[in-house]
Symmetry: C2
Subunit: 543 residues, 2 copies
């Protein structure tokens, strides 16, 4: 049995990039991407990606080089999910909501060779490149993604996306993947601190997670997918590659405005979309419309509340709740629905759906472990423990960050840092998220990063940042500060202005509370639970 060798015919490295040539072969005449008046077929998308990959090689891009991109959900960002790894390079999608300082930190840490930027974000990119240059670090080549809505004749950079596509040789020989453990993507979970955490995905992990997502969510044939989830979030929860696997239609929109979303749903017959609950808030504000046909929505970041669930399901959305994190290549758990629950009253249905659920099929295991004994907690829905994951869709690790890897991988598990329970039916529910993370409008904010900035303020002696509930954004950061110098005046507005200059806008605390001292436990650790309770009682002041 063991003597049978691996052969080119029966051992092909797993890669999500392979879904594209297959889509071109068997879904070739179907629509791949729609964006305004632009419309491509799968054959065309494959050809465009081959051309772009050839151009990247001509620019000198080599294996494991990082190619970064700052863009909203436009066709170029979609195509780069294939074209960049087709040149053996690693795709680094950057959150458009970051400030120049954070973008610069990512460019420096990743040593990106090329930076693609959507025309709307050219200033952000330029500012980031200045910071990189100031630090004496070589700057990446800048390539501007032109757009159908861009004024013609405008030239914003040396390299233009469409020129790279059209100048690329579609017949050029592209490097073939030899090792499925090779990197395909690099996604940063934080970038402003001294030790950025760049999450590296392997081709193998991305391939497996793509199949796992399609199965867990139950994406059938011929999906019409609306890109409300930013593709820069875990490569669109791997559904960038998933739509090629399914031969689906990718409907691209630049922004999640309610009118645009509803128009796309009715114009294109959207069947599927993903989003954080904040998008539901946008869709429900004022102009909620009854959908002509059900739209399946995979939501994550925070469990949908019963009230929200009731409202969105009433107008025709079919919500699946999932839980994931960048390190798990997106959704790791999904609340797989059971038919028998259909008949339950809404509050009960909502309670069941608010649970994070069962592991996706690409994971080998998900568990909740007692932090002291590292044994599984009882399946009683009460015993708390840390949610841990194991499987080939877990990241290769953090790039150049041994300390973070040491902390993340323990005892054969990936430690999520989130606290949860296991119910008697085996479904996992989060009870307390990682102390460090605040999720605002679907964006993860690392409280430690905000605290580090606050501590740079001359009048701040101590700082703790926790999540404060917010009706629109879900959560916003709330800062508790201890003044250090009796002489210096600690002014809330001044602190906020101080933060604005030093971090991405969505990270800035919406509420600042001055306290005499932070509550600490016997070991001297800040008791964030008490601060979160305090924050819960504060009314957001800037609604």
């Amino acid at each position: 049995m063991d003597a049978l060798p691996k052969r080119p015919a029966n051992y092909v490295p797993l890669s999500p990039v392979g879904f594209l040539p297959r889509a071109s072969a068997v879904y070739g005449d179907r629509t791949s991407v729609v964006y305004g008046r632009l419309r491509f077929t799968w054959t065309r998308t494959y050809e465009r990606c081959r051309r772009l990959a050839a151009s990247l090689l001509s620019l000198g891009v080599r294996k494991n080089d990082v190619v970064s991109v700052i863009a909203p959900n436009v066709p170029a960002l979609y195509e780069m999910h294939f074209a960049v790894p087709m040149a053996a390079a690693v795709l680094n999608t950057i959150n458009t909501r970051l400030d120049a300082r954070s973008v610069a930190a990512i460019l420096k840490h990743s040593q990106a060779g090329v930076l693609f930027v959507d025309y709307e974000y050219v200033r952000l990119a330029r500012d980031a490149l200045l910071i990189v240059a100031d630090a004496g670090v070589p700057t990446p080549l800048l390539a501007v993604i032109d757009d159908i809505d861009m004024p013609t004749g405008v030239r914003l950079g040396e390299l233009q996306y469409e020129e790279l596509v059209s100048n690329g040789d579609p017949a050029a020989e592209l490097p073939s993947l030899v090792d499925e453990w090779d990197a395909v993507a690099l996604n940063y979970t934080s970038g402003t601190t001294s030790a950025p955490k760049g999450v590296v995905y392997s081709h193998r992990g991305a391939y497996l997670n793509t199949l796992g997502q399609l199965l867990s969510w139950g994406v059938g044939a011929e999906p019409v997918f609306l890109w409300t989830l930013p593709m820069f979030h875990c490569n669109g929860w791997t559904l960038t590659w998933g739509m090629a696997a399914r031969g689906g239609v990718n409907v691209c929109i630049r922004q999640n405005r309610a009118a645009d979303v509803y128009r796309a749903i009715s114009d294109y017959g959207i069947t599927h979309m993903c989003c954080a609950p904040v998008v539901f808030n946008i869709l429900m504000d004022g102009e909620a419309r009854q959908l002509a046909a059900p739209v399946h929505v995979l939501t994550g970041g925070a469990p949908p509340t019963a009230a929200l669930l009731d409202r969105v399901e009433r107008i025709g959305f079919r919500v699946t709740h999932s839980y994931g994190l960048t390190e798990a290549t997106g959704p790791a758990l999904a609340c797989e629905w059971r038919h028998q629950w259909d008949l339950m009253p809404l509050p009960e249905r909502s309670r069941l759906k608010a649970r994070q659920g069962a592991s996706v099929l690409s994971l080998a295991d998900a568990n909740v472990l007692d932090s002291n004994t590292m044994a599984s907690v009882p399946r009683d829905g009460k015993s708390l423990g840390e949610i841990v994951l194991r499987g080939s869709s877990i990241m290769k690790g953090y790039l150049d960050n041994p300390a973070a890897n040491e902390e993340a991988f323990k005892g054969g598990w990936f430690m999520t840092g989130d606290v949860g329970v296991v119910h008697s039916d085996g479904y996992i529910e989060i009870k307390d998220r990682s102390k460090d993370v605040i999720i605002s409008g679907g964006e993860n904010i690392c409280s430690k990063e905000v605290e580090e900035v606050l501590l740079q303020h001359h009048a701040v002696a101590d700082a703790a940042v926790v999540a404060m509930p917010h009706p629109h954004w879900g959560e916003t950061p709330c800062a508790f500060l201890v003044a250090g110098n009796k002489a210096a005046v600690l002014c809330k507005d001044e602190v906020v202005a101080f933060c604005r200059k030093r971090m991405s806008r969505f990270m800035v605390p919406r509420e600042v509370v001055l306290v005499d001292a932070l509550p600490t436990n016997a070991l001297g650790k800040v008791e964030k639970v008490k601060l979160r309770d305090a924050a819960r009682n504060l009314v957001p002041s800037k609604l």
Copy 2:
């Protein structure tokens, strides 16, 4: 990027066996297996499999040992798909329609250590073991699968399946899989000739094909699956493992009698089943009933005819046509349906559905190559070439058969031996099956094997066996014989009786034609195309 190591948390060997512990964890209280008055949950199935694996280890079964089984679709056969590899052994399911000689050939070639046999097939097993012993080869241990319908108090063998399950220690430590390239199953495509072809599946290939099948066929949540397809055919096209992945219900029946099938469909609310077209013939004979809810059927072996498709779809079956072979771990192509075809008239729909279609997602590529140039044929629906496959769900190879491996793997492809075309939409259609294969009632018959037996007849000088169309079985073997000795009388009935003694019943030619000489081409090769044309004009004599 390359420096990040594989860790136990992020590089878990792929194996379909892992779907069972997951099913026990997240679908634990759901029904796993139904058989008559027997009903198990996923938790129970997992426990039973752990117990059986522990018993196999106690019997001395070790890594790569072959554990064979002869059984219809009963729970034991289902459980063995997990329990055997959980003991690091290799599962060898044997076709119940084989004769003792063929079974013996498989047992000898595979060097099986244990043979499980359903109570109904004990005589077949005993006869086979006698042949093995006569050849001086060590015989496997015999374990009888007792059954709820078996007379109580009857003891048919030394070892009893249920005793092995109940005596096994569910807490025993089982070997853990280290290399996903390890063998999980061994399936014979032919066993009577001197060089049996035992197809070896890796854990990796079986895992990937399982996900691929679920996606290609679109098996959603909570399927209720009726086992009309024998599990011994490519491990039930990997749906044995697939039902665990989905937490589905496995409804087991011993035989595909129309009444049993219709009763199961209505009693259990069957949603999915697989079968060869011959099962449709059984279901349509006389007592066709209107189904209360649609039942999705994956069919393969032969394309459903327009007339059959019309009849079965009219009563509520939703047919997906697929193409596969043992070497590809079951279905390799599936005719993925497009919504736009729904509105076409039946003959056109049927023509489209009769095509074998697009590669499953676990394959890297499927193609049709010109046999001379080894280049892709044009996508014109006319140019003939050999269908070739490539991907990680292709078998590891044939066990101890270097010549067959040499022939099967060429130029980075697995050669199917089937001749087809590619249509302009990329869908593949078979035009001429491998010259050697006759498919009768879903069973593959190797014409060469039948010819070899015929040539052993003292009065036969030359023999060629081809497929003859048959209204019920699809095809049956038709033998063209040249008498060698003018003195000896070549009698048709005597030839048939001669065959009956020497091969499995379904392989015996239903028609024997005496000819003066076989038609040959310029190179002296028998022109089977001409013989098939001749056979097509013969009316089956034994309907």
